[in-house]
Amino acid sequence: MSGAQAVRRARWRGNVGLIIAALVLGIIVLMAVAAPLIAPYDPYEQILDDRMLPPAFVDAERASPTHLLGTDNLGRDYLSRLIYGARISLLIGFFTMLVSGVIGTVLGVAAGFFGGRTDMVVSFLVTTRLSLPVVMVALAVVAVLGGSLQVVVLVLGLLLWDRFAVVMRSATMQVRGRDYVTAARAIGCSVPRILWSEVLPNVVSGLVVIASYEMAQAILLEAALSFLGLGVQPPLPSWGLMVSEAKEFMLFEPWMIMLPGAAICVLVLAINLLGDGIRDLTAPEGRR
């Protein structure tokens, strides 16, 4: 076994967080994909006789044996809504990250590679974007265009690309002067080809970490928008919307806000830890 292998193995061993995070995230994704198979009830079905039943661990006497995590104020099964809610969070998180990742990477790589006037334009775009308050603009746009999943993804994607651009710009600037780029230029490769096959593969490792961070941000923002009533619309079981609907019953049924909030927390935590773990794994010097 070589030294490098030993280091790699030690890093894996020290990275329990990464493994747990990957497991948790895997379970949530599986739940979301297989929601119709797992969920005990239809998440939209209102059983008006069974309204606001608490879970057994909150109040064993009032709890129903069939509604494991209770029901909401319209008698909808809470566990089923939580399971379907994972779909919304994951879909919005993933596609927002994709949209913002493409915009940010294109701008960042262009700015870093070409420099000069291109760099100035990109830095103007980044500064403009940073001057806009994200939540306020997102709320306003959703209010104008309506709160569908597509609109939320588009708005958040157009607002969250700045970090991608900044990081990709500096990564590209470091790569730009390397010998392999000069060599590719010398043998007459076209610029798109150099960007695609010399620059991009060498800056892509930084992408994973920002991607995980931005996905987590998008999930938190979607929850906040839905909580404020200008994100995903009822009766969709968005976790943020569930907290908002449960807010007025907080005094007597606090578990109703605890569960969806905790679900968001666990998902975001898993994504963040996964990103951190990958960063520690790939960073040459490891964690300081």
Binding site: S131, P133, M136, V137, L273
Partner: protein, 305 residues
């Protein structure tokens, strides 16, 4: 320095124009202004008359120029809901947001700097890991949910603090805690990283070798140098907080500009939304301009880049 300052100023001007154009367009795409002004029962002819009366039939660029000049003079138009002008609405609520932001920043610094220093001093021990775990958990919590937990625990269960409204300073305690909490993780990590780097520096070893008391070395030599990037980031965070935290202010019904923004968006009072967006964005532009110029003045290395 002059060259850098001029370039930075030009950027700020361009960005200011861009955000003002976005604010202007937001109101335009929100619906037909003439129809809104005319009211629901207006006939098509009346709407057209109003369109001519307010000059809404002229080219968009002319309207934008006029609107920008008026805005710069402090006339941000009228609310569709309140009798007051948009400028007055914003000015009335600005002090509450400023109080909240100041308290929020204080909470964030009081939490993050000691935690970051302790984490750096006990690097890679359980103390460090605990601080890191808190930071990671803090970043994962949705802000509105954390705010609701504060309300539930301190407001309802313990009954210590008011949970809604803007009657006195006590109303600001929980919102400030919630707001500060979310700036804490990133500031703490930065403090820790700065301290770790500084503590390894030669001049710290020299200070220790001279026999200076540990406290003097830590506070006067180490922290003072480690904290510079923290101050820079904290000022950006403060700028964001001053922009009004829509989420936190709304959860606590605190009458700041963030809550005003949410209310106005919810009832489609877009002239107010436009005004807030313009003020907040321009404020951010000016703040970052000043911060960058100040940094360049303090650190000549920045000017050349």
């Amino acid at each position: 320095m002059l060259g850098f300052a001029l370039r930075r100023l030009a950027l700020a001007l361009a960005v200011g124009l861009a955000v003002s154009a976005i604010a202007f367009l937001l109101l335009r795409v929100s619906g037909d202004l003439a129809a809104t002004l005319a009211g629901e029962e207006a006939t098509a002819a009346e709407i057209e008359r109003i369109r001519g009366l307010y000059g809404l039939d002229r080219p968009v660029i002319v309207q934008y120029g006029e609107w920008l000049l008026r805005s710069l003079r402090g006339d941000l138009g009228r609310s569709l809901f309140y009798p007051e002008s948009v400028a007055k609405l914003i000015l009335d609520r600005l002090p509450n947001t400023a109080t909240l932001a100041t308290l929020g920043l204080a909470v964030a610094l009081l939490l993050s700097i000691p935690l970051g220093v302790v984490a750096a001093l006990f690097r890679n021990t359980w103390i460090d890991r605990l601080a890191l775990a808190m930071a990671v958990l803090g970043q994962a919590m949705p802000s509105f949910w954390f705010a609701l937990l504060l309300i539930f625990f301190f407001g309802i269960t313990l009954g210590w603090l008011p949970v809604s409204g803007t009657d006195g300073l006590a109303n600001f305690v929980l919102p400030a805690l919630a707001l500060g909490w979310f700036s804490t993780p990133v500031l703490m990590r930065l403090t820790r990283a700065g301290m770790v780097e500084v503590l390894a520096a030669d001049y710290i070893r020299t200070a220790h070798a001279k026999g200076l008391p540990v406290r003097t070395v830590l506070v006067k030599h180490a922290l003072r140098n480690a904290v510079a990037p923290v101050v820079a980031l904290a000022s950006v965070q403060f700028g964001n907080m001053l922009s009004g935290s829509v989420v936190i202010e709304t959860v606590f019904a605190l009458q700041g500009i963030g809550y005003l923004a949410w209310e106005s968006i919810s009832r489609r009072d877009f002239p107010v939304v436009q005004g807030i967006l313009l003020v907040v964005a321009l404020f951010y532009v000016v703040l970052t301009l000043v911060a960058d110029l100040l940094n360049a003045w303090l650190d000549p290395r920045i000017r050349s880049s």
